[in-house]
Symmetry: C2
Subunit: 194 residues, 2 copies
């Protein structure tokens, strides 16, 4: 009985609006007013459905990380069991993952992590998973490579990949996509020698 709840629906709208605001203004710059305007709701409603700023941020962080994890998980699951290097690079450095809004949001989270211990730990484990997974993938193609080499190469690839993100506004242009991929390729090739 009673009026049906729109909490789920509204929460979704609000989080999407928050997401867009973070891309444009960063986390700190995303005031409740802006989020409300972006979502087309009153500020009171934003508070009513989601809560205060802190709860809002927590929800967004979880959502973005989950989304990123799912995408990544789906990606590495789609890779073949052997000869994985080429499609790995293809997937990492193709335009598909270059959603500008997503990049700016990730960048905002990384930046905020520098000033928030909790978020830092959250992002740290998020980042660690990438490296671990790449090590695991490369091990398929180069089973005789020692673990230090694999970790160094993985770290390099991840660095190059996220560099395009964190320096996105600086290095985002097409100009840097090719060198990035080539450098990653060279790192992988360096495992051949072993």
């Amino acid at each position: 009985m009673g009026r049906p709840s729109k909490k789920a629906e509204r929460t979704e709208e609000i989080l999407q609006a928050f997401y867009r605001c973070v891309a444009r203004y960063g986390i700190e710059g995303s005031t409740l007013e802006r989020i409300a305007e972006e979502s087309g709701l009153k500020r009171s409603l934003v508070r009513h459905f989601v809560g205060n700023r802190d709860e809002l941020i927590s929800l967004l962080v979880e959502r973005v990380i989950d989304q990123s994890d799912n995408q990544w998980r789906a990606f590495i699951d789609s890779l073949p069991a052997a000869q994985v290097s080429a499609p790995l690079l293809e997937g990492l450095f193709c335009d598909q993952y270059s959603d500008a809004e997503y990049i700016l949001v990730i960048e905002s989270l990384i930046f905020a992590a520098g000033r928030d211990e909790t978020l830092r730990q959250r992002m740290q484990q998020w980042l660690q998973r990438f490296t671990d997974d790449v090590v695991m993938l490369l091990q398929r193609d180069y089973p005789s490579a020692d673990i230090d080499s694999l970790e160094a190469v993985s770290f390099g690839i991840i660095s190059i990949y996220f560099n395009l993100d964190s320096l996105a506004p600086l290095a985002m242009n097409q100009h840097y996509r090719q060198p990035a991929r080539t450098a990653a390729q060279r790192l992988i090739d360096s495992l051949e020698k072993t």
Copy 2:
């Protein structure tokens, strides 16, 4: 005649305070109040000597970039004419450049560049210089390498280097310093084949 001006002295104090605030709170979070408190001056004085927020930010950006440029310039000038790769890596990945405060400030500038067209261009050329210089340096040791390879390797090294910065709060621990350096070394070694 008249009371002697303290403009130069105070401006220095204010900029140093601003610098510390940016490391702690980011640019947007560095209010005039905080800067005043950090410098031990009244907010009115901050305005009196330096001006409003925008002028303050301009001054800090120029100072940080100049400082960074000078350090980098001095570093590459100190490198030998030949066999430059090893000392280059040594210089890049030693602890000397791992000043946590400096890293956080650079990170703040990069982040802010994502939302400010003028700053973006400023940082872009700042970043470009690193890549260009590394290409030039590597060319000494590998004169027969083609320009695309040199650019890719340079881009990779710079990415790995700045990754430690931009992901500093996430990857700053000693754990990542060794893989970073090893990966960079492998990139350089990949130029041997040519």
